[in-house]
Subunit: 113 residues, 6 copies
Amino acid sequence: MHPKVEEFNAYRSEMNTRILATDNLILKRIFNLDTNAFAEGALDVKTKELIGLTCSLVLRCDDCVKYHIGKCKEIGLSKTEIVEGMAIANLIGGTIVIPHLRRAIEFLEQLEG
Amino acid sequence: MHPKVEEFNAYRSEMNTRILATDNLILKRIFNLDTNAFAEGALDVKTKELIGLTCSLVLRCDDCVKYHIGKCKEIGLSKTEIVEGMAIANLIGGTIVIPHLRRAIEFLEQLEG
Amino acid sequence: MHPKVEEFNAYRSEMNTRILATDNLILKRIFNLDTNAFAEGALDVKTKELIGLTCSLVLRCDDCVKYHIGKCKEIGLSKTEIVEGMAIANLIGGTIVIPHLRRAIEFLEQLEG
Amino acid sequence: MHPKVEEFNAYRSEMNTRILATDNLILKRIFNLDTNAFAEGALDVKTKELIGLTCSLVLRCDDCVKYHIGKCKEIGLSKTEIVEGMAIANLIGGTIVIPHLRRAIEFLEQLEG
Amino acid sequence: MHPKVEEFNAYRSEMNTRILATDNLILKRIFNLDTNAFAEGALDVKTKELIGLTCSLVLRCDDCVKYHIGKCKEIGLSKTEIVEGMAIANLIGGTIVIPHLRRAIEFLEQLEG
Amino acid sequence: MHPKVEEFNAYRSEMNTRILATDNLILKRIFNLDTNAFAEGALDVKTKELIGLTCSLVLRCDDCVKYHIGKCKEIGLSKTEIVEGMAIANLIGGTIVIPHLRRAIEFLEQLEG
């Protein structure tokens, strides 16, 4: 695994543990919902992850984008599909999204090794 | 057609005409891209419209949400699928999205007659 | 009650019912969390409502602002306290917040009759 | 004057008076700064109003956009110049800005009579 | 003091000096207002800092969040109170806020030593 | 050239190449529009770059701000003019913009050597 991907995953996992250790019920439930919302339902998992990725991109959250790119790859979406989703997000969100797209493509290519 | 839907479509169409009549090349090209981006590609039209809908919802743009709900219905997405997509957007975007969800559900039910 | 306040409450309540009627589990849980988060805890209810109000104002959501102004009045916050909270939000969020502040003050004064 | 323009100006002016009547010092100073910031300085008034207009458009604040379109017309900017500025804002802010551009063009044409 | 906290404070202080050294009157006044707005008034300092913190979190500004967490600790708010405030912000702002919450908790725990 | 400026330019250029290498037509056209929109037109290049800079600042995109500061310097805008534009953006966007202003001033002064 690319060291940058490993570092990203480790920090995310470590801090999630520390957030849940604060024992705040609202935060626990939000984390719980986050897992449930992306499970297979009326929409399949690929569609849901693309929704997660593109919403993260228009909201310009680098870490959220990276997380969903990781999931997209994991469940078998191709680079072309991922980039096509991100292109729609870029059009909706405007050129202000481009710096986040740069970091997204960098992470996607790190994942691909 | 529900009068509110008709009114929405008429205003949208009228103002698009007037925007293009300003003859600004950048605006023309943005409008053009907007049509192309949602055409069948590596991703199918249903996935793309769900991306358009959910990105519009997290960005809290009522008119964009209405437009994409209209397209979603037109291409055959069910109410359950549309609502499931919007639920993910609501989780990502937070409770600040709820007032926009109210207007989205209202419009969706107006479309259904 | 001022007719505008009544109208606001009625629409909000009617659409919440219709959202919950879609029977989407994620949405139900988000609505549930929304109730729990503002209950007395380590922070008292007044502080929580001021947080709700000011976060709504910087995020520029008129309906959320109106809802929390209603709650703030209900639990006994004075107009001076509410306006002082909103002034901080205006400073943090910038002059782009002013149009929302106009509608907030209008609603606050409608509530006061 | 077009009735919609008159209505917009009247509401804005009435609510500004009521905001200042709350006698909150922070709000008074923000309003004061707002006047000073757009006065002739190292940058001329036309450039400043175009900055005000385009920033309002990317932040998607209809009332702010209308206000600055009014000022732009008042100080002699042409429709072509105003639209060119708004086209840049549309590109930066993305297609999510289009519904606000519709209302901007409508207001601009109401101002022109 | 944790080296990350020291580094944060030093950069903030150094750049504030350089911003004020540009001698721009509008910026000077904004900085001034920022100090005044958080002073004791109709609302007490604890409430104001919690407003500052939660508004910063929903607007997803890491540096603003860190600054207000520092102030919250300084004036005696407990970790439980701070986390409870941030949980409300997370609910309002959605899961897109979580990466910022991670960095907030990390900074809070660095402050606690 | 200051090493931080060089690093910024190199990363930006490298990643733009890799984005275009994905061969996505929508992205290519967005990049194309981005070049065209800032060319001399009804508005001159200085006004357009100030629009680009201030819109980037209110949207709080550090990389976009840096890019436009670079362009502003390149076409001959003075530090006073650039700072005056950014002060308007700070007022419109609120104190939440200040951390981005810090990084903007730092980059501007790195550019000046």
